[in-house]
Structure formats: C-alpha cells, structure tokens
C-alpha cells in the first residue's frame, strides 16, 4: 500500500475512535435533561404552549400535611398504648409477628397493615374476617390515613397523631 493510502487508513482509524466518542458524548448530551432529578426549574418549567397542550403539567400546590409520628390506641383493650412510627410498615393483628399485637377477639391474625408512602401513611385490610373501618367506612383497598381519623379494628380504635 502506498504512503498516502496508509496515511488515509490511519486517519480513518483515528476518525473511527473519534466517531465512537461523539456517539457516547451525544448520547450523554441527549440525557442531560434527564439527569437532574426532582428539581423542576432545572429541567425547565413548561412554557405556556406546553401547558395548553398538556394541562397536567400545572401542579396545584399540595395541601400542607403534618406528617404522622405516633400511633395511638384510643379504644379497646389496649387503650392508651402508643407506638412511634418509623419508616417501616406496621402489621396490625393478633398474630405474634404483628407489630402491634391486638388482644381483640374480633381482630384477625393478620388484620391490616399501615405503610408509609411519600409523606403519607396508608392503611390496607389484609383480608380480615370482620373488616377494617376508616372513619366508619369499611376498607376495600389501601387508603391514605390523615392524622386524627379513627381506624376501627374489631373493638380497637387507633389513630395517627402528628
């Protein structure tokens, strides 16, 4: 191969490495918008046109919630018991493995569970015999629990307190 041909090939080989890195860097560049997590102003507030096309983008200000810190048993055999809420879910029931062991004949072994999600706590019935009642309504699916709203399990009533 001639001198000039060899030079071209060498240049092409370097060019390929450069092309490879251009691909990598432009991929990273395309992702730049995505790399900032959760900070709206950094990812660009929606323009008026985008709001018109996607009304969901306008976030209504979230209601100020006081996070629940304690669980208090207000009625029933365990009345007066309090439990500090951590970040882990709480199992309610008569079973020994439950976080709050209810000495309540009307409660099931694994009756219901409270779990945190975001800044709120949710209660979910675990298929109990007598049901779980949130503010007097029987639970059919997981629902958020606001502080001060009574949860009835058998004869026991518990509340979350801030």
């Amino acid at each position: 191969m001639s001198e000039a041909g060899e030079l071209t090939v060498t240049l092409l080989r370097f060019g390929f490495l450069i092309l490879l890195w251009i691909l990598v860097l432009s991929t990273v560049g395309a992702l730049r918008r995505d790399l900032v997590v959760g900070r709206r102003n950094k990812v660009g507030a929606p323009t008026a046109r985008e709001i018109r096309r996607n009304p969901d983008l306008v976030e209504e200000p979230a209601p100020v919630r006081t996070p629940a810190r304690r669980l208090v048993v207000t009625e029933g055999p365990l009345s007066g018991t309090t439990l500090d809420l951590a970040a882990s879910p709480i199992l309610l029931g008569r079973a020994q493995e439950a976080t709050l062991v209810l000495e309540d004949d009307y409660a099931s072994g694994r009756h219901a569970r409270l779990f945190p999600q975001g800044s709120r706590w949710f209660i979910e019935d675990l298929g109990s015999t007598n049901g779980t009642f949130l503010a007097g309504n029987q639970l059919t699916r997981a629902l958020p629990v606001e502080p001060g709203v009574p949860i009835r399990i058998g004869k026991t009533v518990i509340e979350l307190r801030p």
């Binding site: 370097f14 490495l17 490879l20 691909l23 991929t27 990273v28 395309a30 992702l31 059919t140 699916r141």
Partner: protein, 476 residues
C-alpha cells in the same frame, strides 16, 4: 422518584439522529475492519449495513407509533454495539480465511441472527403493548425457565455438549442456548413473585440485632434460585450462567425488600456453593488456578483449564495500548474464541483503551437507562423487571470484561450484543424490547392528575382493581 417533572416530549427525533450516528459507527467499523483485507464495499459490507439500517429504522418507526415516549437512547446504543460486534466478527473471519480457506465464515450467520433478533424485538413491541401483562405469566415463566434449563440435559439429539459445557440444544439449522432465554423468563418470575409477596417477606420474620431474618417459608424461592444456579453449575458445567442467575435473584430481592440480611444470606449461600464446587469439580478449581497463577508456564500450557486464552487476551490488550492498533491491523485472531468469549480482548487490541472505554461507556449508559426506566415506572412489577433485566446486562459485562482483564476468573458468558452467537443476541434484543416498553410507561405523561400518586394501588388507578370493588362491598 416519580416526582421527576419533565415536559413530556416524545424525543423520537433525538433518537433518529442518534440512530444515524450509531449506524455511522456500525458501518464505519465494518468498513475499517475489512479495509486492508478485502475489496471495499463487498457483499458482506452491504448486507451488514442494510440489515442494521433497515431493522434499526424499523424499530424506530414502531416506537414512533406504538411507544412514543420510550427512552430515546437505548436503541442507538444497542445498534452501535451490535454493529461493532458484527464488524469485529467479520474481521476475525477474514483472518481465519487467510489461514484456512475452507473456514466457514461466522459473520453472515450473525447478520442473519441480528435480523431475526431485531425482528423478534419488533414483534414483542407490537404484540406486547404493556409489560404489565407479563405479570399474569409469573408462574408460567417459572415453568418455562425450568424447561429451558432442563432442555440441554436431554439425551443427544436435543442436548449437546460443546467444550465440556452442556448448555446447547440442537434446533435443526444450528445450536441454541436456552439458558439465554431463561434469564428473561426467570426475571419475569422473580419480578412477579416479589412484587406480589414483597410485603409478606418484609413484614414477617424475627429480628436479630440489625438484621431482620426472613421466615423459613419465605426463603423457599431463594433456596429454589440457589438450587437452580448450583444445578446449572453441576449438571451443565456452566459457571457463568450460574453466577448470572443467582446474581439476578439477589439483586431483585434486594431491590424489592431493601434488606441487607437477604444479601448476606445470599452471599453465604454462594460462598458455600463456590466452596463445594471448588472441592468437587475439577473444572472450577482449574479456573481459579488459571486465574491466580495465569502467567506460570505450566498453568499456561495445561491441556484442560490452561490460562493460555486469558493470557493471550491480555497480551492483545497490551499490544493495543492506549489508541489500539487500528481496526483490522492487530492480531486478535491468535486468541481462541476471539469472536465470542474474548471479543472484548479483540476490540481492546484494535481500538485500544480509548475505544474499549467508549464501548464500556455505551454499556453503562444502556444499563443506566434501564435503571432509570425502573425508577420512573410506577408499578412494582415493572420496576423489578427493568432492574433485573438491566442488571443481567451489567453483570454479564462485568463477568466478561472482568474475566478478560483478569479481575475475576474467566467464565464463559457472552458479551451482550457483540459475541458471535444467535441465542445471546436474540435474548438481549428481547431484553431491549422489554426495557423500551417499560421506559415508555415510565416517561409517558400521566393521563390524569390521579395517576400522580397512584403507587399504593397501581392497578386500581387504571381501573383494573376497581372492578372488584362492587363485589367486595356486596358482602356485609
């Protein structure tokens, strides 16, 4: 993490331009690979370029219509990796043909497999509009995985033993590794099982010190996973796949429960497994020996389990240095299995550290996009599945590249999208299809504000679980 607020843009145009760039890399690699050795723009060149371009644009068009908000960088990255792999396989074919004119080239078959694999990913994207459908097949996936893993152990006409590992089956026109597909079905099973039973595993169990130990019956699937990986190790003599399956399950259970105790139990189990394997099986012990004492002359030349392959790979990497010898100008063909197990060594020799780091970066970006899809999607099943699938790619890269660079013992896993071998390519393209679908649900703008905090009942907010509601209320 679902509070990432970005303006919903489909970003398909970005994908299109990145795809063109990726095709440029793929075609450029192929052109350079053959530049000194064959007529430029030969038959193979066009078949590779046309296959990648047509199939890549085909997927792109499908995404435009069916999954508008899918991640824009996954497809270009995979096309580039696949193209570089094809170019390197072709380049090694040319070297082999020079030595032995009767050598049957591997690359045309690999191009065919590429077309089949991308076609399968396209079919997956069209047929499976929503990855959540897969959750219904949780236990079916388990059965399918078991069958796939048992197939190579069948007697001779079905199961084949190649190079001491019994992981192939014969499918008429060639061989197939069912284990590659099994990693997808196992990921589906783990994702389905763990997203359903996550709470049970989390809530129950004794607490000893900082560790919450799981109950024994919750350990059962873990034990099953351990048995599967040890079974693969013993009966199929495939260390790589057994590491892959167990790693997959460990990661998925850690992601599902965020319990360190599980990881510790898993590490203990794998420690026991490795110890037993070292004691019982000569091939595992030889692997370790040829890793630690790779450069000892007697280990280098040993007939089974010698370190010649990995050492030659290291010499190749050293020969490549920082900028490489240039595509087509090195001697990566001296390494055995240069086009499958050792393809990273071949690329390292010819593209140098600069090129290999770019390739590793492409893998890192691909995996990070998979994890990003997992963070963004709102259903637990999708999260786990995306995590598990992207982790399999990451673990495979780690095991292969770590093995080649002698960071860990060399095990026979394929380099995703690059190694010669149809089953691996097919499985990885199916994984890409699934990741694209999951990323689409992750990035698609919510149809209503209700979706925004739908996590506790992801199905309920779509109206699926709500259908049960009247029936439940009817019972007093």
């Amino acid at each position: 993490m679902s509070d990432v607020l970005t303006v919903p843009r489909s970003r398909r145009t970005v994908e299109f331009f990145l795809l063109l760039l990726a095709l440029g890399v793929a075609v450029g690699a192929n052109y350079l690979a053959g530049i000194d050795r064959e007529e430029p723009f030969g038959e193979y060149f066009w078949s590779q370029a046309v296959t990648l371009a047509v199939m890549g644009l085909f997927i792109h068009v499908i995404l435009r219509f069916r999954a508008k908000y899918a991640d824009p960088v996954i497809l270009p990255i995979v096309i580039a990796l696949n193209g570089i792999g094809l170019a390197m396989i072709h380049r090694l074919d040319l070297s082999a043909l020079r030595v032995n004119p009767d050598f049957a080239p591997v690359a045309p078959q690999q191009v065919l497999w590429t077309a089949v694999a991308i076609g399968s990913a396209a079919v997956l994207l069209i047929l499976l509009r929503d990855h959540r459908i897969l959750r219904r097949f949780t236990y079916i996936s388990l059965i399918v995985s078991a069958i796939l893993l048992l197939l190579p152990l069948m007697p001779a006409p079905v199961g084949l033993e190649i190079n001491g590992a019994r992981i192939w089956i014969s499918v008429g026109f060639g061989t197939f590794q069912p284990g590659e597909i099994a990693k997808i079905t196992l990921a589906i099973f783990f994702a389905g099982y763990l997203s359903t039973n996550r709470d049970l595993i989390l809530l129950a169990g004794k607490k000893i010190g900082p560790l919450q130990l799981p109950r024994f019956r919750d350990l059962a699937p873990m034990a099953a996973a351990w048995l599967v990986s040890i079974g693969v190790l013993i009966f199929q003599r495939d260390l790589g796949s057994s590491i892959l399956f167990f790693g997959l399950f460990m990661v998925m259970i850690y992601v599902a429960t965020s319990r360190v105790s599980w990881v510790l139990i898993g590490l203990a189990l794998i420690g026991v497994g490795v110890f037993v394997a070292l004691e019982l099986f000569s091939h595992v012990a030889l692997r370790f020996d040829s890793w630690i004492n790779a450069f000892a002359p007697e280990v280098y030349g040993r007939a089974p389990g010698g370190s010649a392959q990995v050492v030659q790979g290291l010499f190749g990497l050293a020969n490549g240095g920082l900028i490489g010898t240039g595509l087509g100008a090195g001697r990566p063909d001296l390494v055995t299995y240069a086009n499958s197990d050792m393809i990273i060594a071949a690329l390292g020799e010819e593209l140098g550290l600069i090129g290999v780091v770019a390739i590793v970066m492409l893998y890192v970006l691909l995996v990070s996009r998979g994890i990003r899809a997992a963070l963004g999607t709102k259903d637990g099943f999708g999260k786990l599945l995306a995590c598990g699938l992207s982790f399999t790619i990451a673990l495979q890269c780690f095991v292969v590249i770590g093995g080649i660079t002698r960071l860990i013992p060399l095990t026979g896993l394929t380099t995703p999208f690059m190694s010669a071998g149809g089953s691996s390519l097919l499985a990885n393209w199916l994984i890409v299809g699934l990741l694209l679908l999951i990323s689409e649900t992750a990035r698609r703008p919510a149809p209503s504000p209700l979706m925004k905090d739908s996590f506790p009942a992801p199905l309920g907010m779509n109206g699926k679980r709500l259908k049960k509601k009247p029936a439940q209320e009817a019972t007093p």
